[in-house]
Symmetry: C2
Subunit: 149 residues, 2 copies
DNA sequence: CTCCAATAGTGCGATATCGTACTAATTTAA
DNA sequence: TTAAATTAGTACGATATCGCACTATTGGAG
């Protein structure tokens, strides 16, 4: 084993992840209104798939952003009427964020436009690189996630 | 073929990439002084590996951030004496960013601390997930990169 | 029950990001 | 050789991000 070589590969892995994230966020954000963020869009998708809703804290854990940032993002989404923020009946300190029908519609419309925009790249690459990579990415994400203090 | 299934997998791919990026940036930024960013750190690494230096525009292309953001990041790095910004002899509109010895030292020190911090995760995962994934990530990054207008 | 430590969310202030519009230099074309 | 179009970088302003400190609430130990 060459530990230096391994470290280098890990470093390049994270670099590629960073650049891909940057590329795809920029592309997505071009379709989003105003200064709406790729992360905000991700949150909306998360909520659409969970009709029972989630608390801000659950969301900030899921997306690994500080609580303070989540407050800001959620109020932005709320101001666009894409989600609602209600009091949590089980805990008066807490809230529940839920997507609205308008939010679900909006998500679908953006996803469609994004699919169209990615069409050329997708047909060039085919589904394999994504399919092959996904399990390892999940593995790495889970390991990093469980390691954090 | 199920196009819906494929789209879903691509979506999850980008979601995982986003979260991994978030996790690793947060972890790295905990080791960096002040509000220094993971991207800024990436730029420094890029320059250390290229002693001839690069122009701000080359860097903003490589890291896919707007020119304006690059200006800010470079002046921040310069204020920490980790890089220098000189006039470009070939083009008076342009500049050349180069890493300083101090920058290279700093990079090494942070990388070392980062390796230590990642030790447990790395030995849990082993090098394979990174090694297996890297070629596909590069492929996807290049395809996305060449598609942009 | 009474305290006290832990927890959910937010206000505030500092800094980062990035779109727009600009200047200066370079290239192109006539 | 000019004049127009393009290009590199930045100033500025609007907004996003996030650390710190705070309040309200909860849960647990005595």
């Amino acid at each position: 084993m060459k530990p230096e070589h391994v470290t280098n590969e890990v470093y390049r892995f994270f670099t590629e992840v960073g650049i891909i994230n940057q590329l795809i966020s920029t592309k997505l954000e071009a379709f989003l209104p105003g200064r709406m963020t790729a992360t905000q869009f991700g949150i909306l998708g998360h909520l659409v798939r969970r009709p029972e809703g989630e608390t801000p804290l659950q969301l900030s854990n899921a997306f690994q952003v500080p609580k303070t940032s989540m407050t800001h993002m959620l109020s932005s989404l709320e101001s666009h009427a894409l989600i609602t923020l209600e009091a949590n009946p089980n805990d008066k300190r807490s809230k529940i964020a839920r997507s609205t029908p308008r939010g679900a519609e909006f998500l679908q419309a953006c996803m469609d436009r994004m699919s169209t925009a990615l069409g050329p790249v997708m047909s060039e690459l085919g589904p394999e690189p994504f399919h092959e990579t996904l399990p390892n990415l999940t593995l790495i994400r889970e390991a990093l996630d469980s390691e954090r203090d």
